[in-house]
Symmetry: D3
């Protein structure tokens, strides 16, 4: 039996790499052309995989499920088009469409647009729970429409998500008033980080359950939802963020919902410390996997 | 339109550098001769300016005010006298006296004494809200009276502040009993970090408002008030500190008070990680600017 | 009078190095052969000593006790047997047995087994409060029985502790169900990190007092009980951990209990940032010392 | 007189920011969309400016020229088109064409193509000395033609440089044979890093002088020409690189040549240590400035 | 075509993972129980694999061989016995014996003993070129005979190597005179780092060729042979070390020798910077692979 | 027998701490008020002591002398006057005068002035070999006469050194022409870093021997003489520096000279990497100790 540090370099050391027949597929998307501040999320998937070794030995106390024992495949990294945002999004969409239930490791938040487009082909519009410091509904990113501040602006306009079944948690960045007001006007529920701190994760989890209901839903987790003290390895940090205990407490309370896909994005390892940001990302994937088993 | 990383290297990328006619003036004070433990706060102003780029695009959700649109000037860094504490304090006082409403970026906490002296020339004694892990009312710093453990001992004795309109928040360091007792005996209100954690930022903000009242007041923020996990880049860290969400929640609830100046001190970038300490300092300045606009 | 950075390189700069006649003895145990993930705790004692300088000047506000003024000796580091776990444990036990009230700085958690064996010679079975992210009652560590996941499995089986006077606080790692169930079946009280967050440190401190009672007790503090954002310098971090303010709040509320020894383990400085993990460890030792004086 | 750490945040603390009338203009180009391995050179200009403070006080011993006393302006950073390589290159070319003698701080090496295009408008084809670990004459970068491995492939094909007046120094990366052979077939002189180590900087400087002759020439310095031990802060490091003493020795021996522009590219501060890579870049700019004065 | 950062997480992104039928097999040995100073080489194999991506695209200019195109397999990591040196060495020997031509990534230098034992089963005694700051012929390591200071003491005594066909390059550490004298008395050639600096890599390469001759030989490369400025990520650094350009120059000049196996050991990533130590290790493996093809 | 990491926290783990009767005394001087750029050398002595553990086991191959076996005492750190340069210099001089043959660990270079004053009381003027990137004969440091750019200006003017028996090695910083010319006019020999690289350490060592002769001499080693790639942990780095192999080669060739004291200054650990700067400093002290024994 090998110690954690000798595991294969896949997510949780998963030996199974063939995505066909797997009930869940983990894949990396090393794309960071859409970042507007610090770059480097292209190195995210490798770092999350390495950090995940710390979770590879033992069951999740919630339900005593060992996610490493599931029918999960690590399909490696997606191809991208170097230096070309539209071509990369097309490539990502095409590759995502080839998998069933996908758990994606970013990469910057732009990739979620491509993932939602792929999902829409099969599922139609989905509900969305979105953890983030930022609304990500900017119509523009310093002149660029397809970048990491805009995935949900496009997703709403393209009908990929149902705005009234969409909730954003951890919001706290500077933002133009018109971006905020447009988002709210679509029916999106916005929960600030301060609200999470003041009302607690149990109340917020209940609110997420209420917004999503039992329809097909998607989880998009921007690691900058978490406080920079616990997740420094990201490009657009904002103080006052969520704590990982709150995040895990909320995720545990989302079991039983009908998720059809998820992503964790914006891990930039060059700014990380002792792998703590990558470990937070890996833990979110791991808890999602546990929830999926619980649902079976 | 330039992305954040291409902004001019001023606070928030402010183009306006002429302090005359500005309603608020930001300036750096790269002085660290008064540090008693780890040094390096001379590099603080440059780091805070660089980190502030992340806040340069968009309004503060509180009141939808964009601080970058205000009449604010970044006046650059103060001159100091290399290796000479008394001469530096005199220089700092003189330069500060030449500006109107000053927002200073330290530098170590010794500089606050010079800033309060300059303020006293115009305003007389002021109220004071002081965030810190330490009381900073030591009469002595290992034999040195003018150093970063003593600014408020001198300020009280020189009549620069009204001790009964003075409140210290986040206190938790080891301290000689006589230093604590002298401070309390002056009428200063002392709120430990544990009290903030147990009673919450709303209650503490109310207490600050009650102590300061509507008289002219000053805000002095030692970055070590914040927990070392969120603000490692400082010289005298103490565990158990405030969280940035609490700090921002308190500051937002101080709008409407009559502040006439402020400083953020003790950022030591050589010990920082991924700019998170500098970002916390920049965010405090940014929230203070928002509050000042709200007051208009 | 010397500033903190010029102190002797002992714990709190203690000049007194002769353990005979001291009421408390601090010692380092630079052993890390039992680590199963990231290594490097052999460098822990040196880092904790260096970080402790920040606490060397002033009294603990709790009771205005200055731990540096006590009858405490820093006895230096224990000898270990390079590359040999059983021989090292025997050496550690022998050395520990030669001291009175020992405060040990690890080293990995394996050393606690040797320390409890030494304590048992004099005190018989003790109560135990154990802060950790992990139960550390695994019967096996990837094929190795004597390693850092097993000290309390062995301690319970060898009768070194009274399981019904044993409480574990901060638990949150993946774990096989049978390990958890065996532990609970022995009568051990298990308090998850989420419980601490939801119920608060005052309630948990009361629970610890109730489990330990007034019998002789031991404190074992694995630094990974603390959140990776505040204690990155460790080998098996887990997200969602305790905050240092909670830890200090609980420790302060344990004064008056009958402790006969303690350790702080698993500090791995190569993964630390700005000494914050080492400072957390030093602060725990410092609070324990204060409690011991209070008891006198 | 201000210490270095209180200088204005421009290159060498230059107060003069108006490029009109300056004999040399320094500008940053925070573009990194063309990187094929680690990213982050968008942060390069800010880091080089900050590091340059260490060179701001005193003359260059070569000729006792103080570059800070020259007629030099720091024009700030160029605008770029976020996420769009062709649009960014067009923007960069346009801005560069508006200046006279430009010293550019990258950004990744793709920008040199735009700079050479701008230069060509005025100067026609130029000679080129190119320090690099890589030939940068790849026709393709993982499917992308406009990226940091290709600027000189395009420059040669577009007639922006005279290949027989082109010399590459420090070459040592893996490379397809056909890329190497195409480059050599154009008449480019290729000097490997090993040759520099074995024959010494004086001989190589003589060779550069011989290749460039007295025609108008350009200097393009990819910081990865320097060894990773002295310049870790870059995206595609290769072992066995040049030493900074060799680089400075060669540059000093290039005085009197007819340079009409230069750039230093590929500084990625997130991977730097103690600013040493940024300082190397600043020192290269500083020596080039000295050479230009010497030429006057 | 994927950029380097999207490669599979194997050495050079090798897709071929089945060692049977491969002419060369790369494998990791995450063992670090034999370290006597800083630990952490268990993380070495993962770091070397990650760093090797930078070498994955293009041929080695020496002979225009692309090592990634060879018949090479990355067999993953060896199993080890946690916390048990003798059992680990037995396991390593057994696994190594199952492969043909092995290129091992340590792990600490103790593993070389096990690898030489495995090699001896098939090849009998071999010649040895050993790059290191240390002789590694200590009979004892602070009381432990099987540790990273002793592999060649044991190898000589067990007849695994021919001492007169053994040469050590880069030697410079403090050492007891009797250890040095014993080594020299066996007939081993010792070349200090200063000799390499003063006489140059070409002369030393000739000397290595002369000592090894055409018999079967082994290459053992302790990364601390390289200077700490270029290879900080190791446990027992010594100043004055070899430069990577010298190392690569020597290795290139060893082509045609009859190597039957090799290892690169002592990479400790927690002390590395920007992956430069790991890249040096990867480059050594890559050059060795090139040499092996050249030999075909 | 303890491994290196369990040694007492003194230089080389020396048990002997009583300076009386020791033939050599090591002491730290944690003073950094004279730094003009990056600060933090107050932490230098602790870092050098910690790094020296790597040299504690074994003899120096030069003459097979084990410096740890000598009659050497580590006297701990000097007292300084916090925030007061003149008072600190007086204190340092007084303490230094109380010891015999002192080996001092800085601290910034200002301290050398105090040390030379103390030495002058007993020895009269001495010869001086001074390794540095800077001349340190500035009459002024941004308005401050007593700071780290001026010790040798004062020393020459006070008659503490014999300028014609003074040689400076490694010089390469920007400097006003008048500072350089004044120094040369005193008769000081100036050897640039480039000269060391071009002529080699053997030639330079011969030149040092020739300048110093057999009179009493002092060695002052500013760590920034070494290249930033090998010694990043310092405040005023300059590219193109000496390599540690050259430094050690020169020091070894200075045996037999009549040294009466030495210092190593300007180690700033907050900017160090993996202890390599501190190790370089420790190695210089260790070689000096060896030379002193050789002299006996």
């Amino acid at each position: 039996m090998s110690p954690t540090f000798a595991l294969p370099p896949t997510f949780l050391g998963l030996e199974h790499r063939d995505p066909a027949g797997a009930s869940l597929v983990v894949a990396g998307i090393p794309f960071d052309l859409g970042t507007t501040n610090r770059s480097g999320t292209r190195e995210g998937p490798a770092a999350i995989r390495r950090a995940s070794r710390m979770l590879a030995d033992g069951a999740n106390p919630m339900g005593w499920i060992d996610p490493a024992g599931l029918s999960v495949a690590d399909a490696g990294d997606f191809s991208i088009a170097l230096g070309d945002i539209p071509a990369s999004l097309a490539l990502i969409e095409e590759q995502a469409a080839g998998f069933g239930h996908l758990m994606a490791m970013g990469g910057d938040h732009t990739v979620t647009l491509a993932l939602l487009r792929a999902l829409h082909r099969r599922n139609g519009p989905v509900g969305l729970v979105h953890f983030d410091a930022h609304l990500d509904t900017w119509p523009d990113n310093f002149g660029q429409s397809l970048a990491h501040g805009s995935p949900f602006y496009a997703a709403i306009r393209e009908g990929l998500v149902e705005p009234r079944r969409m909730i954003q948690v951890g919001i706290r960045s500077p933002v133009p008033k018109e971006v905020h007001d447009w988002t709210a006007a679509q029916g999106v529920t916005i929960v600030s980080a301060e609200e999470v701190h003041l009302s607690g994760p149990e109340a917020v989890a209940a609110r997420i359950r209420s917004v999503l209901g039992q329809g097909p839903s998607y989880l998009s987790f921007d690691i900058d939802a978490i406080d920079p003290g616990q997740a420094p390895g990201t490009g657009t940090p904002e103080v006052g963020g969520l704590f990982t205990w709150q995040v895990m407490a909320m995720l545990r309370r989302l079991k039983g919902l009908h998720f059809v896909g998820m992503d964790v994005v914006e891990v930039a390892p060059a700014y990380d410390v002792a792998e703590i940001t990558a470990l937070a990302a890996a833990s979110i994937l791991w808890q999602y996997m546990t929830n999926m088993v619980y649902n079976q």
